[in-house]
Amino acid sequence: MDAVTASPNIGRSIPRLEANDKVTGRIEYIHHLRLPGMLYGKIFRSNVPHARIKSVDVSAAEAVEGVFQVVTIDDIRKVIPHPYYGPAFHDQPILADGKVRFAGEPVAVVLATDKRIAEQAAALIVAEYEDLPGVFDEVDAMTSQTLVHDELKPAATFPDLQHLKGRKGTNIALDYHLVRGDVEEGFAKADHVFEHVFRTQQVMHTPMEPFVSVADAQDGSVTLHTASQGPSFVRIEIARLLGLPENRVRVRVPHLGGGFGGKLYIKLEALVTALSMVARRPVKIALTMEEQFFMVTRHPCTFTIKSGVNKDGRIIARHCEVVWNGGAYADIGPRVTQKAGFTSAGPYDIENVLIDSYAVYTNRPPCGALRGFGAPQTAWAYECHTDMIAEALGLDKIEFRRMNILREGRPQASGTPMVDAAVEQAMDHTLDLMNWKLPFDRGSGKIRRGRGVAIGFKGITAPTTSVAIVNLYGDGSCALYIGTVDMGQGSDTVMAQIAAEVLNIDPAAIKIIHPDTDVTPYDMGTLGSRSTYHMGTAVRLAAEDAKAKIAALAAELGLPEGTNAPLAELLRRKYGMQAGNIIGTGSFIPDYQKPDTKTGQTIKGTPFWGVGASGAEVEVDTETGHFTITKLVNVADVGTAINPKMVLQQLSGAAIMQLGFTTTENMVFRDGQLTNGSLADYKIPNLLDMPREFINDYTQSRQKDGPFGAKGAGESTTIALSPAIGNAIADAIGLFLPDLPITPESIFRALQDANGTPLAGE
């Protein structure tokens, strides 16, 4: 255990503050909210992937008793003249505007007094389309003459995306480049050059609580009650759309039933705001589980990786070309392209690196952030590639990694030094937990066993700001005003532990004031493993500010320095009764240097490094391809674990999620149509799919500039898991599979191909 765990509140697995209210069904979710006079909206969606809209006939729907109105973009334009939104590009219309760009895109909304009536009426809307050719594959989209957007509209909201322009006349929304050394020269000097192509599939966040938002627009102001991970961004973007100052837009967020990056930026919020303005009534839209497939998903990607390696096993050059399938609207895809782009050469110390990373538009449902910002897709490629090289050169796979691993203080490909990044430690701890040095049973007959290890890392979105307020009341009790959204990860509890540590009070007695932009200060968003580090620091600063003010008050009252008089007593003395407040504020933005737009070089591109290592043991039935993960180990560097139990829950949750993305989950498209858009046919893992042995742990390490040595933990175990399983399968059957998901059929086909008896196609 870390030295700091000796303190009363840090390193303690106190129960979640909200646990009791959750299990007794008392916690607030937006799904339960009903406002007086509220209308329910049901979305009518396009059934074609790319088309011009010839007509939308809403007459039958409007004739249904109980229908208030059917709304199309024409109605919305009357209240919002430029109805386009998005965090990176203002490319997404609030409802389809003349054209549809994916099958499932919202075209119209029925507003009714009852949600069942709205649903029934929506089925009566008839749209006529003039089909356009579609482009669905990311590699095709790079060169296709079919353009998803005729015009690219950069948003320039975030500092890390201000250079976005897009490439006119193409589907490329962003191209990101990183240049270190001279990669061509490196390849020329190398003894061996390896090139492989890897692909990942489109998958979905599947939060238990589907998207839900309620808007209540008044003249010149609007209140949003929404299941959002980023209330501050929602306020800024809605204010921009409506031409209002920020203080006229109020965004409230209670608890969330999961988010995983899906509920970031604008999702239903612009639509319900527009509908409420049109109807002049509060409006609620709650998606079904099935509709979530059309909201936001994870980027499929095609990654061509080429490495030059010396005969002694040193990697001296690497070229990564990563093409990200962003779907019809950019959402935050450009940041995925950039964030995952800059670490896509892996946690290795390579002299010559060239990274070309492209976000492209296609006629698929939009893709955005999903637990790892693209890092899991890139690690799938670079870590399978690592094993393939070691295999080809006859090198030990662990020693090959060790020979090339990025060590503390060495510059990563971007030039930013690796600081407080326990990559090798995480790998070593994984190997220990795998009993790597013990003999391994490789199976016999039709059953083959194998094991594999992978490591990975990610940069953190930068620069981003968190602001916190600590409010101590007249009786000395404490509330914490923060914009961090507790969506199940346990941030309320961790933030309370940090404040409690500074103020020397009981964390369980602290009240967390949930995001309400009228009350809570700015936070960039609950995303990308940033809250514990960023908001945690802001909370620490706010608590220290409050503590300093208490000391000043004591001095003002003539008490000796270091007095232990309770705050309630101090305030009573000052105001003559139980009254007054002590308000501490804290604001945090980490150091950052904008990368050079041509070379991607920066000395400070990330505030900290997310680090994960995974190991897997598998058993493959070579006669059917069926496989079982008999053991899965995941180790993350989280710095100090402020609440160890919740950290382990985060690590295991992230691992199970990525396990689904590795083996069972796949959005299957035919001609741009999703063919498995329900949980009956899109399979997330359940208890029966858990590995027989499932171990999650963290390294004993410390993020020196994090709050009490802590950093984020939400994504780390998603990074290296897929390639650990892929490498274990390869170890078992002697063949590498380049595409996710790994399925019994993909294994069986690979085996048959290798035997020279390929299985027929479909």
Binding site: R116, E119, T624, D681, K683, A760, E762
Partner: protein, 286 residues
């Protein structure tokens, strides 16, 4: 979901009255688990639903005949009742075995034997098992009663031979001395997925010689179907690897398997070959 009438008749006469209209949006239901999914997905919009839960004795209970030991199982028997019946466990253990991987506890507590058959979904686990067990169904309607083999209920993908006003009242399941049975649920994605293929297998063997058998395939085809060709390869023979291989080939040849998200047709045919051979071999040597 829009509003509809729900009626709970207490006599067959009343049930037939409520159902006796030429309107496919008037449906009977048992547990309603499958129907609710279709209604939520707007695939089915009922005008009237007729619950069979108050129809009484003829539709309820698990009883063994004192003559031949066969079972009479009321159509409204829930899967949980089957799962926890000591009699079923003792004499039809394959049913108890199948329940472990069939849906989940909440569904098994509600879903009924009759509704499961009338639904006509080819992916369901129990129909191939009933067929392998030589079960028959008694069907009642306003003009009388008829008893047919369970396999004759199915006519295609979600299609049955049941007419408007027909109600499955009960199942008759023989207990065949010397027979052993097994259900093989083959999933290709999550463990708990619908099967890519389901195989109901029942056989009577002496040593390694198969005297008689039933092989029923579901999920990979449009309706649960006996694989007569594969049965003929094996019937009366002593099994060995070559014979099992021929049986697998016969099974693959006599079925029309479609590609879907659970696997390509060639892959599922391969799985059929492998799992028939494995299951027959395992049952014979059990």
């Amino acid at each position: 979901m829009t509003s509809f009438d729900l009626v709970e008749p207490e006599t067959l006469e009343d049930a037939f009255k409520w159902l006796g209209v030429d309107d496919s949006s008037v449906r009977p239901f048992g547990g309603g688990t499958a129907l609710m999914l279709m209604m939520k997905a707007q695939l089915f919009t009922p005008v009237r639903l007729v619950s069979l839960r108050k129809l009484g004795r003829q539709f309820e209970g698990i009883e063994r005949s004192s003559n031949d030991g066969s079972f009479r199982i009321g159509a409204m028997t829930t899967f949980s009742q089957l799962e926890h019946s000591p009699e079923i466990r003792a004499h039809l253990p394959v049913i108890t075995q199948t329940m472990k991987t069939l849906a989940n506890v909440r569904v098994r507590n509600v879903a009924t034997v009759g509704g499961n058959l009338a639904h006509g979904d080819p992916h369901l686990d129990l129909p191939p098992v009933w067929m392998a067990l030589d079960a028959s169904a008694t069907i009642v309607n306003s003009s009388g009663t008829r008893t047919i083999p369970v396999g004759d209920i199915f006519s295609g993908y979600y299609e049955t031979t049941l007419e408007q006003g027909d109600l499955i009242a009960e199942l008759r399941v023989p207990v065949r001395p010397g027979w052993r049975s097994r259900y093989i649920k083959v999933t290709t994605r999550a463990e708990h997925d619908w099967p890519a293929l389901g195989i109901g297998l029942s056989l009577h063997a002496e040593g390694r010689v198969i005297k008689d058998l039933r092989i029923v395939l579901s999920a990979a085809i449009d309706k649960p179907t006996r694989l007569i060709g594969a049965e003929n390869v094996l019937r009366g023979k002593e099994i060995d690897d070559a014979l099992l291989k021929r049986a697998g080939e016969a099974a693959a040849d006599e079925t029309h398997i479609e590609t879907d998200n659970r696997g390509s047709a060639p892959y599922k045919k391969h799985l059929l070959r492998v799992h028939i051979a494995r299951a027959v071999s395992a049952l014979v040597t059990e």
